[in-house]
């Protein structure tokens, strides 16, 4: 552990005190605390959700099962750690879904990893429900007025993930290549998936 000569900010000291007491009382080990951070930072990330999306794009029967029971469909892909009910929402040319948690910051972390700061911020949590189109514009997504916007406020232990539209010009791509196009933001519902420049030109 490195020595930091500067005075630690208050929450840092508090966190250290709690850790030291919990460790002393045998309620958790330092190794377990390290392992949890490593798990979230290294092992669980949006590639899991992207694999689900790519499979749904290439296998209509899987897509039907995914929309009916996302937990069971993720089991098929050996995606571990779904501790909550998962619901997958399909974007279409006429319906755009996006996900928020206005009450805290509930997030489908088992398929997307840890949430970025903006998802947990007051601007996103307050505005996504009342002005989703303005929010989407800030993410660079302009929706036609005829497109219906459905916002999902994650108020229970049910978690939501968006199945974005498959971009045209990706017909020849493999499942892995498709997965690499799918961003975390597209699965929150604040971005579109775009085809790589080479396949757009083709």
């Amino acid at each position: 552990m490195s020595h930091n000569p500067e005075p630690q900010p208050y929450p840092a000291l508090r966190a250290q005190a709690i850790e030291s007491l919990l460790v002393e009382k045998g309620l958790i080990s330092s190794d377990a605390i390290d392992a949890l951070v490593d798990l979230f930072e290294r092992d669980i990330g949006p590639l899991r959700g992207a694999r689900v999306v790519a499979r749904a794009w290439t296998d209509p029967a899987f897509k039907a099962r995914l929309l009916a029971d996302a937990n069971a469909a993720c089991d098929e892909l050996a995606i571990e750690g779904l501790r909550n009910r998962l619901v997958v929402l399909e974007n279409t040319p006429s319906v755009h879904n996006m996900v928020v948690c206005t009450l805290c910051s509930c997030y489908p972390w088992a398929v997307l990893g840890l949430p970025p700061s903006w998802y947990k911020s007051a601007p996103y949590r307050s505005r996504a429900v009342i002005e989703p189109r303005a929010v989407l514009r800030e993410f660079g997504v302009e929706l036609d007025p005829a497109v219906e916007v459905r916002v999902w406020d994650s108020s229970s232990e049910t978690r939501y993930m968006v199945l974005p539209e498959r971009p045209s010009g990706t017909e020849g791509l493999s499942e892995d290549e498709l997965a690499s196009l799918v961003s975390r933001d597209a699965m929150i519902g604040v971005a579109r998936v775009t085809a790589p420049a080479s396949s757009q030109a083709a």
Partner: protein, 223 residues
């Protein structure tokens, strides 16, 4: 805070990071430790955060709030005492090396295995559900002092049952040690115009997950 104005732009590119400081990375483990001790469940965790003074809540980071509710619940349930906390903070302030580690690979494996285990959601036993998809409902106008998951912007609003999720633990009871009472849970769709009136942006809706006791049947008055 759903529907409040004045928080400014989102600026997603400036707010990509998941942690703001190294100490924040310890917090998921501390929350796990507090939960394992039996002092805290998911709902008392959230209620602890909601008890913060609003001005403090808005100033605190996500992990500062998690840290605060972990400590609050640990102290309230008697796992830690305020005196212990003060003494330990003082000790660490004087001597940072006093923060000792306890190595335990097996414990780390257990914690990771628990996070990676999948848990099938409770069976959706439709016989317990009072409402069917398509039923019109109205949310109750209530302002409880304790914990609830009925957002303020959706109280006294008319919606339609879209989906019956299953029978889930009622947070309003579980946060206060009265639990685990379970109730049917629904996804209820509200038209943007119902929630926001003339301020609605256009064609749209908000779906909110709501427990049965948050809802009342909406009598059809159009006839």
């Amino acid at each position: 805070m759903g529907g409040m104005h004045g928080f400014g732009p989102i600026e997603p590119r400036q707010h990509e990071e998941t942690f703001h400081a190294d100490w924040e990375k310890r917090v998921p483990g501390l929350v796990t430790g507090a939960t394992r001790s039996g002092a805290m469940n998911i709902d008392s965790f959230r209620h602890g955060i909601e008890r913060m003074a609003p001005a403090e809540y808005l100033l605190a980071s996500y992990y500062e709030r998690h840290l605060l509710t972990a400590e609050l619940n640990l102290v309230e349930k008697g796992v830690l005492t305020p005196r212990e906390m003060e003494a330990r903070i003082e000790l660490l302030r004087r001597d940072p090396r006093a923060a000792q580690r306890r190595e335990d690979r097996q414990d780390a494996e257990r914690v990771v295995a628990a996070r990676l285990s999948s848990e099938a959601p409770p069976m959706a036993d439709a016989s317990r559900a009072r409402y069917q998809p398509g039923d019109p409902v109205v949310t109750r106008t209530v302002h409880p002092h304790g914990h609830t998951r009925l957002p303020r912007y959706a109280r006294g609003k008319r919606g339609v049952i879209e989906r019956f999720h299953g029978v889930d633990t009622l947070p309003d009871a579980n946060a206060h040690g009265r639990g685990p009472a379970a109730e049917p849970l629904y996804s209820v769709r509200f038209a943007a115009s119902e929630l926001w009136g003339e301020s609605a942006e256009g064609l749209g809706s908000v779906n909110i997950d709501l427990w049965e006791s948050y809802l009342e049947p909406l009598e059809d008055t159009s006839a």
